[in-house]
Every structure is written in structure tokens, then in C-alpha cells.
């Protein structure tokens, strides 16, 4: 039997932005509150030294009774401490993902499912263990698999950019994308969307629809096909199940806005728009521009952002000792102030007193109904 536990994913904008610190903070809290956690990662977390820059990283310390999902090669050194519950069929570069339960407290390395469909499977397996809160640690700047969580916390910081302005622009843009309204008509077209999940769909005002070859808006060819059809005033919306590239969206805003006026562009979920952008920073203006020109953008699925955590520290490349890095920091107060001024979500530095604000958000979320 599955529990109704909720899943919180931690999405980073880059390496070393504080994902695992946030993850550990929530883990410690859930253990202290006796909320049974289930833990996994879409990357490789808990190692003492970073795989890339060789700097120390936060370890992951679990309590007796905590449930984890990690690759068999990471579990091997812990086999005396972790009881193996299930060897799943989900594969990773470090072997199959194992569901295990801690017989004793101690450090673990989490390397779980690496793609969305596998994360979904692992979340189900963790739920079968009757955990109450599932935490999914992200990896680098990767975001796509995390769409299968119930809510996200975004981690950003100086490791992404040392320019505070750019950092804030990016988070503001992400905020904008995650705040896109849900489409609300998916019930009407449910069967069609499922049947043509690999095709761009164009909806007619009379309820009929047309499918295009291709599921992502990446190439000029697909885009040309789209504009030749959307020209018809009978069409009132287009659904793109895959990636939508920022440059194409910009073309719509700059050159083809008349064709799309009064029509709705529906994306699958916010991450599919974010991943299609070279510079996420520009998205806020681009979305604003489209709306001003009477073009709606909506999303089929969405999920709430509970907070943005900020980390002023970053690994600085040491030019004198080639290939090595040292810790450096940007102005943490400036970062906090500017971010809070422009972002609608709570902005939190986990290492400061305000970290309790994050717990408030999490508690609120856990109390809320299911999505």
C-alpha cells in the first residue's frame, strides 16, 4: 500500500549552489519532527570531495530507520548498515537502484534514478515504504526529472554567476515561468494529448485538432510548418509536448506576433521552456512581451515553488595553481536584498536564522491537499 507522502525536489541553477545543504536541512528537520523521510537524488550526492572541482562537499547523514534509494555501487560499502528492501529494475551508471532502510545512523551516498520516468518509479517504491516526506536532491543544473515532484525548492548562488544582477534576473525569469497559469482545458483534450504525446497539437475553435510532425519546437522546419497552419483564424491554440526554444519564442514575439494574437501557446511544463533557453534571464521580458502582444502562454502541468535558497559561496578557479579551486564569496546581504525585492517566493539563506521560514513553507505545503 502506498502512503500519501509528498515529494519535494531541490532544483539547482548550477553546481555548488547549496542543493545538498538544503536537502540536509530538511532531512534533519524531518527526523527531529519524526516525519519519516524517504531519500534519493537524481545525481550523485554525499561524497566528501566534489567529482569535478575537488572541493569538500556536504555529506549526507541519515538516522536509523530512514529509507533511501541509491545505486548498488554506492550501497556496497554500507551493506552492514543498510537493510536491502528491494533491488529495483531502474538502472544507473553505478548499477541498479536499491531501496534500503538504515539499520544504524551514518553517512550515505545517494545516486538514484537519472531520468523522470525512473524517478517516478522510485517515488512509488519509496511511497510503498510508507514514508511521509520524500526528498529528491537535484544535480548540477538539471531540472527535467524533477517535474515528477510535488513541489520544488530552487537553489541558486554565486556558483552560478558572481554577478548578483544576473542571478536575480535568472531567478525572476524562473519565477515567471513557474507562475505561468495552468491551461485548464486539459480535461477536454485528455485523450488526444495522451494519444498524440509525441506531436505538436493545434486546437481549433470548434474543438477539432490537428497534429504536426515533431514534438519540440527546435528547428526552423517545424516552426515553418506551425506558422503556415496557425495563420488560419480558426485555430486558437498550440500545444508543444516537448522543448520550446527561446529563440523561436522570440521570433514569434518579434516577427510573427500578429499570427498568434489572441491565441494560446501551451507548454507541457515550465522546465521544458527553461531548458530551451540559452539565457534564462531574458525569459521574463520575453513572456512579458508576448502577453503585451496578446499571446497567452500557459502550461499543462505545473508545480509550486516553496522557496528560493541562496548561497553566496562559490569555488573560485585558482589561476596560479591550474586545475584547482578555492572557496570565495559574493556579498551575501546584497544578494539577499536584491533577490527578495524581485522574487515572489520566499528567499532564504539556509545558513542564517531565516532558515525557519523555509520550514514554515514546507509545513504549509505538507498540510495542503494533494495536487
Amino acid at each position: 500500500m502506498e502512503s500519501n507522502s509528498k515529494v519535494i525536489g531541490i532544483l539547482g541553477t548550477a553546481k555548488n549552489t547549496g542543493k545538498t545543504t538544503t536537502f540536509n536541512f530538511l532531512l534533519e528537520w524531518s527526523n527531529s519532527e519524526k516525519i519519516k523521510p524517504g531519500l534519493t537524488s537524481i545525481g550523485y550526492d554525499g561524497e566528501d570531495i566534489d567529482n569535478i572541482n575537488g572541493l569538500p562537499k556536504p555529506r549526507i547523514f541519515i538516522e536509523k530507520g530512514n529509507t533511501i534509494a541509491t545505486a548498488e555501487q554506492c550501497l556496497f560499502p554500507l551493506k552492514d548498515r543498510i537493510e536491502i528492501i528491494e533491488k529495483t529494475s531502474v538502472n544507473t551508471a553505478l548499477g541498479r537502484v536499491i531501496i534500503g532502510k538504515a539499520k544504524k545512523e551514518g553517512m550515505v551516498i545517494l545516486a538514484g534514478p537519472n531520468k523522470g520516468i525512473d524517478l517516478q518509479t522510485i517515488i512509488q517504491k519509496l511511497k510503498q515504504q510508507r514514508v511521509e516526506l520524500i526528498l529528491v536532491d537535484g544535480a548540477l543544473n538539471r531540472m527535467i526529472p524533477l517535474i515528477h515532484c510535488d513541489a520544488l525548492i530552487i537553489a541558486t548562488g554565486a556558483s552560478r554567476h558572481t554577478d548578483i544582477g544576473l542571478l536575480v534576473d535568472e531567478i525572476e525569469s524562473m519565477t515567471r515561468v513557474f507562475n505561468l497559469p495552468e491551461w485548464g482545458k486539459e480535461d477536454i483534450y485528455k485523450d488526444e494529448i495522451r494519444e498524440y504525446k509525441n506531436n505538436i497539437l493545434i486546437f481549433q475553435k470548434n474543438g477539432c485538432l490537428k497534429q504536426l510532425s515533431g514534438h519540440s519546437l527546435l528547428s526552423q522546419k517545424t516552426f515553418s510548418n506551425l506558422i503556415s497552419i496557425i495563420n488560419d483564424p480558426e485555430y486558437d491554440g498550440v500545444y508543444i509536448p516537448g522543448i520550446i526554444q527561446e529563440t523561436i519564442l522570440k521570433k514569434i514575439a518579434d516577427k510573427y506576433y500578429q499570427l498568434f494574437q489572441g491565441k494560446t501557446i501551451i507548454i507541457n511544463n515550465p522546465t521544458f521552456l527553461l531548458i530551451g533557453s540559452r539565457e534564462i534571464n531574458h525569459l521574463k521580458d520575453l513572456i512579458g512581451d508576448l502577453l503585451n502582444k496578446g499571446i497567452n502562454i500557459k502550461t499543462l502541468y505545473n508545480l509550486p515553488i516553496l522557496a528560493v535558497t541562496i548561497n553566496p559561496f562559490y569555488p573560485k578557479y585558482d589561476r596560479l595553481r591550474k586545475g584547482s579551486y578555492e572557496m570565495a564569496s559574493i556579498d551575501r546581504l546584497q544578494l539577499h536584498e536584491q533577490m527578495t525585492g524581485r522574487v515572489t517566493f520566499p528567499v532564504i539563506n539556509i545558513k542564517e536564522k531565516e532558515s525557519s521560514k523555509l520550514l514554515m513553507e514546507v509545513k504549509k505545503f505538507l498540510k495542503s491537499g494533494n495536487r
Partner: protein
Amino acid sequence: MDNNTIKIKRVLLVPLDPVHDVALKILNRKLRDRGHETILLPPDIPLEEIISRLTEIDNLDFILVSRTLGYGVAELLGKFIDLAEAAKIRDKAKIVLGGKAITPQLAAELGFDKGFGAGTDFDEIIAFIEGREFLRERDSLFRKKISIPASHNYHYKNNRIRRLLNEITDEIIQWGENKSSPGIERAKLRENMITISQDDKLTDEEKNQKIKVLKEKYIAYCDEKIVRFYERGLLPDKVRKLSSEEIGKLNLYIQQQKQNINFKQMRHMQLLPLVFVQYGTGCPIMDIAHIKTSEAWGADGVFHFDPSWGARTEGLLEGILSHEEDGSIITWENLAKIKSSLHKETLWTVRAHRGLNTPETTVIAGRLGADLTKIHIVYGSLNGGTDPARLTIDGLKAIQFAAKYNMPFDEPTNEELGGVPAYKSFAGLLIIADLALKLKAQPILKPLFCYSPDVMISGKMDDNYIDYNVAKIKSLRSIIDAPIWPGEPIGFMTHSEDRVQSTLSTALHSALAISLQVDAITIASSDEAYSRGPISLASRIDTLRGAQEVFRFLGKAKIKPTGKAKEYEKEITEGIEKTLEKVAKRGSFVDALYEGLLGSPQDGAYPGRAGRDTVFEG
């Protein structure tokens, strides 16, 4: 594997790199040779364009991405994998990452299905694509224990020398009858204690009682230093027990290393020589790190070196012990721990050769399943510091133990480094080899590839290092068909404080060894002579890489010596015969050792004093 049985795969190769696409080009050729359908993209295409192209290609099974790491590359690869997932490419194809700095851990972090890093064999990637197990195949190809003596029949080719040796070794065996020593008695007691401790029919209490009785007898044959340990628990200076925490971590380290090890291939097209390295940092943990590193970088075998005081002390300690200075202490527990760390195909040799614990060390090595040991009476007596009579009787018994436990043993002729000319040390070498054959053991001849005092004085290496070393091997081969393993290590006395120079010297001596098709070589690290403490792993890898590189360079080509080599060979063979004549004429091998017939004080050899007057009848 037969190409007909391979399931054809569709593979796309993506050089996600501004320039480096050679590896993918090679892989592309190899995949096509095996019948797979491949598409190789040009390098340096923007991510979005690659993804766009990928969405238009149907039925892909694998996407192989290669990329060198650099600033921001991790995020770039993370984005690639995200794009591939959002574009539904991951639903159909497995995405594999390759590149010099890639590890399985990094591949997991980046979200790839598999990662291949430096040291990967192209065949390993192909095996992965074809869904075959790779390690097994590679193990069978190049990491396989080989019996060094197996390809030799020990037939003499020089009858005069055979007759002289026969006469001398008959006398040694006769002399040794009814003689014993504290070392031999301890070896027998140790053997009994091991047998009892491994007897499943006995309870722990019964074992302890029986061992206690034997231990008391054992202690009676030990030096004060060892007695203090057994009676009062006091360890010698600079020796300490590893804590249980340290041992726990060591066990974990061993497990992890065994999981993660990825072997480099040492030789190119050749089967021989096997390459050995020695360890003996004093600390079993460091030793194991050296062993695992050496295995990974292609070493076929490793040697255990103990502290020099171990050879001059009657009796062995017990427990997992660390020693602050050079040489790792021989105890059952230390050796057992080291043995547990070895890859199953790594040859392991424990040197027993030169001191007061020679028979007991042979017993422990044998009972722990060592592949080889090292025994040499002449070197141990003349430059190893042990009394000739004592080492002759102990050596005789040790050789019998080696035969009993089926361990071939090598005979290092390191007295040459003291100044003894090669022909004299070869006479001693052949005496012990002949003795071993009579005792049904399997000797391995170990001439030195060195720049010895004798050649410095006589000028035999003034022009090159090749002629005289070639002459030594050819001379031995003209006498007997026995395995030859130059050591110990090759290039002795040609190293300097300069790691590049030292590595190159070892590499060139390795080239000569492979050209001569010897059975094995021992190589030093590039800081072995000058480290002034434990050697460093980087230096250890230097020479393994150096040897590997010359094996690749030389292939089946040969090094040609000058005409001098023939002259030297004749000189050495004649010298051996003359020396053996003198020893035979003396009528006593032990007296011949004392009197310098196999190396004199003028040569730089001095009969040892440790264990003098300890041989007894019985």
C-alpha cells in the same frame, strides 16, 4: 566473438567538443567493423542543433557523447541530458559519456546511463553496446596468473658445469643431514600452530591450549626483542598495532578498490615479461594502496619486503603491525591482510631469502597461498648478513618448504651490487638452483640488470648498458633452460634523483628485457633510490607507465648488441666454470662461502655473523 551472433545496434556518436573527436572516430571504425550502423556527427555543433537532429533520427540504440572536462562543462553536459530527456530521446536510446576525466560517479551525477573514462579499452565500450560482460573477457586476455617455470624444462646444456654442480650440491645435502637450527625449529612449530588454528574439529579452547604449548617452545628459540612481545606484550621500537578502527577502514578501502579497479594492459602484443614491483613501506595500509595502484597500472605481481632487522632477529611477531621505517613486518596477520587485498590474478611473492627467519617465512607464505618466494643462500650469507652455515641449513629447509607448498622461488644475485663479479655470483646462483632441482623445487634465476661496481671498475659498460646485460642472460641460457627474471630491480644503480631520468632508465632496461624475452622483471619506482622514506605513488606509476610505453614502442622488434656481448658471454661462462671448479675442489660449500670462493672481502663480500654458531645436530 563471431560477428554473425551480434545484434546490430544503431549508434550515434557525438563529439560534444570543439576539437577532440579522434576517440570517437576510432570507435566509429571499430563499431562499423563489427557490423553496427553508426552516424558520426562533426564536432562543435550547438547543443540545440544536436538535439534537433537527434529527434529526426529513428531507432537509435545508443548515443555516445565525448567531451573533455573544463570550466562549466558539467553544467553543459547536464543541460544536454535534460534536453535529451525533454526531447524524448532518452525514451529510446541509452546515452553514454566518454572522456579523459569521466568516472562512473561523474556519469551518475550528470545523469548519463554510463560513463567511460581514461584507461578505457575501446573493446569495453563495444562490449557494453553489444550487451556483453567485458571484465571476464579482458581478465582472460591479459590478467591471468602464469606459472613462470612452466615453459622451461631445467635441462642442462653445459655438461661440464652440470657435473661440477652435481658434485657440489651432493655435498651440501650430505652436510645438511641431521642438522637443524632455531629458525628451522620455529618453522616447524609455526607450521603446527597454523594447522591447529585451521582445524575445524577442534574447539577454540582446545586450539588455544594446544597453541599455548607450542608457543612456549617457540619462544625458547626467539631473541629477547621477540620474547618481550610474547611475554610482556611489548613491541619493538617504531612498531605499533593498527587500531580496530584503522583495520575497519582498511577493509572498506580494500572492498572499494576491488570494486572500482580498472586494469591497464602492461604489454602490447607480447606475453612476457611479467612485471613485478616491490612494496614494503612499513605500513600495511600504505602497502595495500601501493599494491592496488600497481595492479591498476598493469603490474602482474608484487613482492613483500620486510625490514632489514627482521632478517637479523630470531623469531617473528604476531598481529597487524605497522612499522615506522622501511620494510613491512612479516606476521601471519599482516601477510593475510595483504593477501586479502590482492586481485585473484596478481602474482604474490614473499621474500624469505636472507635471514634468520627464512624457513618460517616460507611456511607462512606457503600456507597463505603465496605464488612465489625468494630464497638465496649465497647472497644471504655474503651480503645479507647471515652466517653461511646457518643460512645453508635454513636455506635447505626453506627450499624444501617451497617445494612442499608448490612455490617457485627466485634467487637474487644482489652480491653483485656489493662488488662481486657477475660470474662468481652466477656460480652461487647455479649451485642453489641445482640444489633446488634435487629437492624438487622450482628455482628462478635472477641475474641483475645493473651498473655494478665490478663493471664500473672493469669498464664493461663504458660504452653501453646493453652488451654486458645481454651477455649475462645468454651465458645463463647456454648453461641451463631455466626461467630468468632480471631484477632486483632492473637498472639498479642507474637511477638518480631525477624522476624522468630514473623512469627512462627503467623503461630502457625493460626494453632490453622484452627484447631478450626474459620471463619477468622487477622494476623500481622512479624515487626508490632517493625517496629517503616511503616511495610515492606517483613515482610508482612513473616506471609502470615507462615500461608499458617501451613495450608499445618495441613490439616484436629487437635490440641489437655489439660484438662485445659475445666476448663477455664467453668470459662469464668460463668464469662460472672456474669458480665452480674451485668450490668443488674445496669439498665444502659452507667453507667455500666462509673463504670467499663465491665472493671475497676483496670483491666486497663478507660472510655474515647473524646466527653464527646456532646450527645444531638433531
